[in-house]
């Protein structure tokens, strides 16, 4: 099987679907931000054309080391998307779902709901309520605000909707990765007087492993690190300094290959892993195969994108990948056409 090219379709959400073409007729799909399309085209042209996509791990390594600036956001996103598309192809070539290619079992993934829509209390509550009813998921990740009072409000809403007394319920707080340790500690300690938080994600600036450790030492919740980290080396200071209690694997920049490698490293350090949301909930496939999976993020934006057709089902608060070959995500061309997005 050889890679022959890349087809791109713009999606109404502003993202793009990229489809790796092969000489067998099989195609591999991934979703990228529009800004990463050019980098993806260049990577295919310069590094992937003519290669066998079943060599995904090796090609991931080559893409990781060859470009002049492999950690530039557009390159990292494009590389990860192409890796995902190659794993999609690898599974399709075996005529099996990706979770099986990865050696996983068809087990439902524990999941948490993440509101990434506009800061609208009513809409957020509505979505959580609907998802709770439709999926049974009782865990949520809330974006931390600058005001502890707003966070208390959001946590109160979420705890009420999800059922705070259930042992299944977990509340996570996501910071935007710009905080100072002292501020974060004060902020979280205030919230912990009323709420039992499972995790605080990205509490300090990227690379501030000492700050992450300081936060971890001062609060009860676990400190979760990893969103946006595109390379094993970026995790190293956190591992060295015992500064992350949970590792977040961001499929959109680590790809499937990078997630497999970092998950094994996390297992070696006895650290649980969370999987960042990805269109079509395809991170569920990884949950089924990794050694210490904790939760998969289900994001509002992905859940309401009409162009995305995932192959997952929800059952008693768990997300289960389907049996379609590959990762199962497909694009509803009709929805794309209806919204007028260019093909």
């Amino acid at each position: 099987m050889k890679i022959t090219g890349l087809e791109i379709a713009s999606l109404p959400s502003g993202r793009a679907a990229i489809e790796l073409q092969t000489d067998t007729g099989l195609t591999g799909l991934a979703i990228v931000n529009a800004g990463a399309v050019t980098a993806a085209e260049a990577l295919v042209r310069e590094q992937l054309a003519g290669e066998d996509p079943r060599a995904a791990m090796g090609l991931w390594e080559r893409m990781r080391s060859d470009p002049p600036n492999p950690l530039a956001p557009a390159v990292a996103h494009a590389r990860a998307a192409l890796d995902i598309a190659m794993w999609d192809l690898k599974a399709k070539a075996n005529d099996e779902p990706l979770w099986k290619t990865l050696g996983g079992a068809r087990r439902g993934a524990r999941a948490h709901l993440a509101w990434d829509g506009p800061p609208d209390r009513r809409r957020r509550a509505e979505w959580l309520r609907r998802m709770r009813a439709e999926t049974g998921i009782r865990c949520a990740s809330l974006a931390a605000s600058r005001e502890p009072a707003e966070d208390l409000e959001a946590l109160t809403d979420a705890a009420g909707i999800l059922g705070a007394s259930s042992p299944e319920t977990s509340l996570l707080l996501r910071f935007d990765g710009t905080g100072w340790p002292g501020d974060v500690i004060r902020h979280v300690r205030g919230l912990e007087r009323r709420f039992d938080l499972a995790c605080v994600c990205s509490p300090v600036r990227p690379g501030d492993f000492a700050g992450a450790r300081e936060v971890s030492d001062a609060i009860r919740a676990a400190v979760c690190i990893g969103r946006g980290l595109a390379d094993a080396r970026s995790f190293l200071p956190y591992l060295r300094h015992y500064a992350a209690n949970v590792i977040e694997l961001d499929l959109a920049v680590l790809g499937v290959s990078g997630c497999i490698r970092m998950a094994d490293a996390a297992f070696g350090f006895e650290l649980p892993v969370m999987l960042t949301a990805y269109p079509g909930q395809i991170a569920v496939h990884l949950f089924a195969a990794l050694p210490t999976p904790m939760s998969v993020e289900i994001a509002y934006r992905d859940s309401v994108d009409p162009a995305l057709v995932p192959d997952v089902t929800y059952e008693a608060g768990r997300v289960r990948a389907g049996m379609h070959p590959g990762h199962g995500l497909s694009i509803d061309r009709g929805a794309v056409a209806a919204t007028g997005a260019p093909p």
Binding site: E51, D52, R54, A55, A56, M57, G58, L59, W60, E61, R62, K90, A93, N94, E96, K100, T101, L102, G103, G104, A105, R107, A232, R233, F235, L236, L239, R240, S257, I260, R261, M262, A263, D264, A265, F267, G268, F269, E270, A288, A289, L290, P291
Partner: protein
Amino acid sequence: MKITGFRFETYLMKLDRPIADCNLPEGLDLLPGSILFLETDENVTGIALGFGGGGIEALFPLIEGEDPREVTQLWLRINDYLHKLGNEGEAHAALGAIDIALWDLKAKIAGEPLWRTLGAREGRVKAYASGLDYCLDDDELFAFYRRLAKQGIDGGKLKVGLDVAADIRRLGIMREALSVASDHPVLMIDANEYWSPKQAVRYIHRMEQAYDIAWVEEPARRWDYQGLNLVSRQVTASVATGENLNSVADFYPLIANRAVDVLNVAASHSGITGCRQIAHMAHAWGLPVSMMNCQANFMAHAAAALPNHVGLEVVDCGREQCLRFDSRIEDGYILLGEAPGLGIDIDEAALARLQETPPAGRGRFPFPRREGAGRYIHPLQPGEVPWDHQAD
């Protein structure tokens, strides 16, 4: 596709030449072997090669009726099952064997060589020569490394530990033998945990005055993270260790305490899944790994897919009497073929012959630890090795 049964065969094999380290200078030429056959309802069989053990029967109910393609989750299931007992001893050997046979099956089902299933770009792995040579005289030592150097192998690992002057001389012999492959052969030494840390520092310091040494293997006990760290800081060579550990959990203290510079990884690290976990953990830490020797170099499949692999140990001592395999050494690399799975077929007739008429020879497997180890050097006794040494 379901796992339906298994067959576990054991046998004895006589090597082409004796092998030894400083814990067993006189060496042995008889090794136990085992083959696990994992059977499925679709007439595809996975195999795993090992050195005995057993214990498959106790773990088999955990995988019976399951799809072998779900190998990493089956590994976890067994690992979790062993939680209280520990991933050790016979259970450890059984977990590793089952995992290897599952990966063989997974690749065979996909109709591709295992290196491709594991995502490698090519079935090609850098090799280095390792004589397990403490019992080889100087001429045999030269002949072994020259033979492999003629296949392009430009690195060698010498067994050392009991006589520094002789070890320096023999390192020179190895270097000379390898010089046809490279003007700058890579030299490594292996003490198999004989020394205490400070003994190691003094001994290696003297060897480093004569030669540039890439790594020293097991200069202190396998679990002694402080001792290994001390050696690593005081000598120029890297410290390699890990071959006798069981799993990624055992490597944690070594990595976290910076006690290892090169990780020796192996099939005995809880199979291919466990070995890969360790390599990936090392990769995150920026550390290289080196694959330990194995029959027919089958772990080259796993090594080919690792981003931080530096070289596979080739011993080439004749352990493949009942195996037909699809790999060869060329230009210093192990080249894996396109045969599905591990690319290894069992010669059942040869296996039956070995079982019916076990070979005779010298066997003290597993290697014991020698007198004085970790405390003082108990000198080589007359007749203990066939080369010149400082006998009392």
